[in-house]
């Protein structure tokens, strides 16, 4: 019973924050709404018994990735966003598309609910950190390692992009990284990844 009450509270928080994310005009308000969504999702994971996933959701998404988002918004000092009426194609294809997707989800969930013999309720499962570790490092070791290579490629891509020399006129790095060492040439190139 308590599980159901908590589920509805945090599910509605998540949905409300997600809607707020879209409605807010200022990027920092949108980013903060997204943090609320992440937090609410973490609670939902916890209710499902996935405690490790919940904690990691909080640490990685709310604590690291969204901090970077907020950091970039602050650094660029992004102002209010401009609104456009939106394209007609998006409205024409988008609305029926969303309706179809929701209908499909409802259909699938309803079917599995009927087929399932006993019918499970929230909080029936409990997955410990040991279980996840065992699955991740024994049964699914190869996908796990491949993912880590993917992340490595992402990092290398970021480094390449940040160190690129032929950037626009606003970037001062070309002259500074030129061959002749100047006394004042110490600063920017290092700073970009701070």
């Amino acid at each position: 019973m308590l599980h159901q009450i908590l589920f509805f509270i945090f599910a509605s928080v998540a949905v409300a924050a997600a809607i707020n994310l879209l409605l807010q005009k200022h990027p920092i308000n949108s980013a903060l709404s997204l943090i609320v969504v992440m937090g609410a999702l973490a609670v939902l994971y916890l209710l499902l018994g996935a405690e490790f996933v919940a904690a990691v959701q909080l640490i990685v998404y709310a604590g690291a990735i969204m901090v970077l988002f907020v950091f970039v918004i602050m650094l660029l000092n992004a102002g209010l966003e401009e609104r456009t009426p939106g394209s007609a194609v998006a409205t024409l294809i988008g609305v029926p598309g969303v309706a179809a997707l929701v209908g499909l989800c409802v259909f699938v969930f309803a079917r599995t609910r009927i087929r399932g013999a006993a019918g499970y309720s929230i909080g029936d499962f409990h997955v410990s950190t040991q279980d996840i570790g065992r699955l991740l490092f024994r049964d699914y070791l190869l996908p796990f390692e491949v993912t880590s290579v993917l992340v490595l490629i992402g990092i290398m891509g970021a480094v390449v992009l940040a160190k690129r020399e032929d950037a626009g006129p606003t970037d001062r790095s070309p002259e500074i990284t030129a061959e002749a060492p100047r006394p004042e040439s110490q600063q920017p190139a290092e700073r970009t990844h701070a």
Partner: protein
């Protein structure tokens, strides 16, 4: 235990811990001013009360009576919200830290911890307490970041940018430094980790048997990286660039006054407490210490709390000592130290520890 008593006990515990943490934060400020004063050959506060002991109260009254000024052109909502976002994650982790075994008063047995429960006569805490603490503290950076941004002031903005970059960078080392301890303990529950540190390393060997079985001995590299990263996370000297007063006036809280400023101050000291509590629990054996058997039961239950508090105070003393000793890093030094020295060191510790643990497991 019936549920009305459970709720009553919980409320008493929450009120007690809140009172203790707030008082302790206030008196850490006093201790810091006294110690730094003595290190710099001054007296520190002496005027209010004996040894200046009433100074924190005077400071508190002063903060409350000051005008609460909201500068024009600030982002109002976030400006008000930021101190709260800074304080709440600073206070929450204390609720997850166990400070002793269980205590029995008037037939009611309860663990010496805010969130613990009794299961089959033994105190039990949340099994992912450490992860939760990491998650909660990682949210604390928003308070500082938003404070600087919403102030609409260049010094505050620079301070909060520095804080965000610094906290992201050092959080990686902070998290990884704890992995070594977790590999040894094989558990994420703080109570479990402390229980494993009871006793000594070499029972029976003459002099060596006095060395307690604390994690700091096999994991001293992890301890070093944790403490260093934690100093950076709490914005303390030598990592206090977000509030470097010689460059940024006061950093992220430049535009704050009265109680709003004081809340940032309290949050910083509460964060110090959290760090001290986690370091004590993970590396210094938590509440474990000698407890003589001839004491009355109530003292036997409370003596471990005394050991815990003693270790926390010692840790905070070192915190203050470092502040009195080291100068502030330059920003590029801070970044290269964090990424090029601390992070590889923490990783190497994880690799070595896992090999050793795997070796002994066979």
């Amino acid at each position: 235990m019936t549920w009305p008593i459970f709720i009553l006990v919980s409320i008493i515990k929450v009120a007690l811990v809140f009172f203790i943490v707030m008082t302790a934060a206030a008196y850490t400020v006093w201790l810091e001013r006294k110690l730094i004063g003595r290190m710099q050959n001054r007296w520190g506060p002496t005027r209010v009360g004996p040894f200046g002991l009433l100074q924190p109260m005077a400071d508190g009254i002063k903060f409350i009576l000051k005008e609460d000024l909201t500068p024009p052109y600030v982002h109002k909502t976030l400006f008000v919200l930021a101190p709260m976002i800074a304080l709440i994650p600073a206070l929450l982790p204390v609720s997850l830290v166990p400070v002793g075994g269980a205590i029995t008063i008037h037939g009611i047995t309860t663990p010496l911890e805010m969130t613990g429960v009794m299961v089959n006569g033994a105190p039990v805490d949340i099994n992912i307490a450490l992860l939760l603490i990491l998650g909660i503290t990682s949210v604390g950076v928003y308070g500082i970041a938003l404070a600087g941004w919403s102030s609409n002031s260049k010094y505050a903005l620079l301070g909060s940018l520095r804080a965000s970059a610094q906290m992201i960078s050092y959080e990686v080392s902070l998290g990884i430094s704890l992995v070594g301890v977790l590999l040894i303990a094989n558990s994420l529950s703080l109570r479990e980790i402390v229980n494993q540190q009871a006793g000594t390393w070499f029972p029976g060997v003459p002099v060596l048997e006095w060395i307690p079985r604390w994690n700091i001995f096999p994991q001293f590299i992890a301890f070093f990286t944790y403490v260093t990263a934690a100093y950076a996370e709490t914005n303390r000297i030598p990592f206090d660039l977000p509030e470097a007063e010689t460059e940024l006036v006061a950093g992220y809280h430049t535009e704050y006054s009265s109680m709003k400023f004081a809340i940032f101050f309290i949050a910083e000291y509460c964060n110090m407490f959290t760090v001290a509590c986690i370091a004590t629990t993970l590396f210094l054996g938590g509440w474990s210490g000698p407890v003589p058997g001839f004491l009355p039961p109530i003292l036997q239950a409370l003596l471990p709390v005394f050991w815990f508090v003693l270790k926390v105070v010692a840790f905070i003393f070192v915190y203050i000592w470092i502040r009195g000793t080291l100068p502030r890093f330059r920003y590029d030094q801070l970044m290269s130290f964090g990424w090029k020295f601390l992070f590889p060191l923490a990783l190497a510790n994880v690799v070595v520890t896992s090999f050793v643990v795997a070796w002994f497991a066979k």
